[in-house]
Symmetry: C2
Subunit: 324 residues, 2 copies
């Protein structure tokens, strides 16, 4: 089996001591915070694009959500702004749930690299901003109690089609809770898993060091991947799965309209085919295609907000081209 | 629209005066009849292969049924035998429902050619056999009353996907009865239509001349084709139909197992795509593929009787190859 880890993410939640949490800020205070962060970012600012979320058009916002750069909540927030690195690997979000959220993402199994980069940004900002930190008891103070402590959320995005098909994912979701971990669909809490993509992350940030959180997460994820691998190994010579996988390939190559949900199902099957060895000689750029065919990204490419019926046609055309 | 007529057929039912109808024959009489026909066929016999149906293996019989060379009933009959022309265009069936059945088939819209060839064979046999014929009243006498008269059944095999999809075929089936015609699924009475293939033929052979029967049938079929054409013209630019047709193409190109019924559905959609102009630059050999993927023909190619699960896999492999 190919490694099913799509990306590794780190998020650090930080707040400025002298201000109330974002939901209680007035506009003047919010602007001050943004300016302070901008100043603190000065040594690296040339690598970042700054965007005021309120001034951003809806299509761009939706596209950023689909690319996992901002949360759906951030897209709707007042006074929220974003520093996004040119290489897409890091960003600083200001006045979302917390005053400052440092986020890094690396493709594949690269949690340490993601953590290193987040740490560097954290050091840089920490030198110049007065982060709310309780030395004796809590660690970093955050708007939501679940983030208090390290303020760290470490997460992997993983493709788990066989655990999903065999319904074992549900049991795992319950099980990992005991270790302070959580398995979610890719678009965060409450959302349905699409394309068998799951985010596995720590839920608890209090009472553990950053290194322990990362170590525990890696450990859990490795066990989950092993289970997925055992299942994928069994299907390599199974014609029922070959049929499933190749039909999905045939459909995305030839359909002339397709919903996002159906496309995600077929792309996940194709990704399973490549990963398990049923399909050989095909490059696995499926995750990128999954992102590209989301509604916002289709509108972004079309340069306009287009209705669902038209999107289904454009999505099919994009898939026909990409898979051929 | 491409012409949806797949083939044109003529069948002449004849019986020998001096013998009871086949179902009342003893074996000695049946053998005598077979010998008499063989002798009568002498001038052309070098063009025909003779086969005793009782001695034929089941796979070959099933394959002949699927190629519309014999009926499912003939495959099961005692004392039944077949003279089959090397070019497949004509055959003489002995001791099926009637003593002698002359059958001719030409691809496309060629009912006159089929009739000419059947007529020639009829003349040849009529010279040397004593056909039961009531000059004054009934014409040729046949085992089943519906064939009495000319003993002629003229038929077209036609692909009518849009009349089927719009459910207009049901109304047409009732309507043509008033003109002594019948529309059936391809495997004859009572069978479900497969692949939107219909046989349109005369039901009445009494009280009309051969020429009238053929003229009336052509007339009816032309009207039906016109209706089908109107419907197909409407879908050429319709993306819903493009999606339907191209998905079917994708599935038959990539599936790894497929039932006969599902394959027929997709092949019919592809044939509709070619016919309506939705798919361009693709040769329409779909009907031949439809015949080739029937169970008996799959077994015939495999050289063995194989179970349904294995057939589904072989069928998929054959389709993948033929459509790619």
């Amino acid at each position: 089996m190919k490694n099913p880890i799509i990306s590794s993410r780190i998020r650090l939640a930080r707040n400025l001591k002298e201000y109330p949490f974002p939901k209680s800020l007035n506009r003047a205070q919010a602007v001050q915070i943004t300016e302070k962060v901008k100043t603190a970012m000065a040594p690296v600012i040339q690598n970042y694009t700054f965007a005021d979320m309120e001034k951003m058009d809806e299509v761009t916002k939706l596209s950023l959500v689909e690319n996992h750069i901002i949360s759906p909540e951030a897209a709707k927030k007042r006074d929220c702004s974003l520093f996004l690195a040119a290489d897409g690997k890091s960003e600083v979000l200001v006045n979302e749930e917390d005053h400052v959220r440092i986020q890094t993402v690396f493709s594949g199994d690269s949690l340490e690299e993601a953590y290193d980069l987040a740490n560097k940004l954290d050091d840089l900002l920490d030198e110049r901003l007065n982060f709310a930190f309780s030395e004796k008891k809590y660690g970093y103070l955050t708007a939501c109690l679940t983030n208090t402590g390290t303020g760290l959320r470490a997460s992997y995005m993983v493709h788990l089609p066989m655990l999903e098909k065999t319904k074992q994912i549900k049991a795992l979701q319950n099980e990992v809770g005991r270790f302070g971990m959580v398995i979610r669909g890719i678009y965060g809490e409450g959302s349905e898993p699409l394309g068998s993509l799951y985010q596995i992350s720590n839920q608890i940030t209090l009472g553990k060091s950053e290194e322990e959180i990362i170590k525990d997460l890696k450990n859990i994820v490795n066990q989950i991947i092993k289970k997925e691998e055992e299942l994928q190994n069994k299907i390599k010579e199974n014609n029922d799965f070959a049929d499933l996988v190749y039909r999905s390939l045939g459909i995305v190559k030839y359909c002339k309209k397709i919903s996002s949900q159906e496309a995600m199902k077929h792309l996940s099957n194709i990704k399973l085919g490549i990963s398990s060895g049923i399909i050989s000689g095909m490059e696995d750029n499926i995750y990128n295609i999954m992102v590209d065919i989301q509604s916002g990204n289709i509108c972004k490419r079309a340069g306009d907000i287009i209705d669902s019926k038209k999107r289904d046609v454009l999505r099919a055309g994009y898939l026909n081209e990409k898979l051929n």
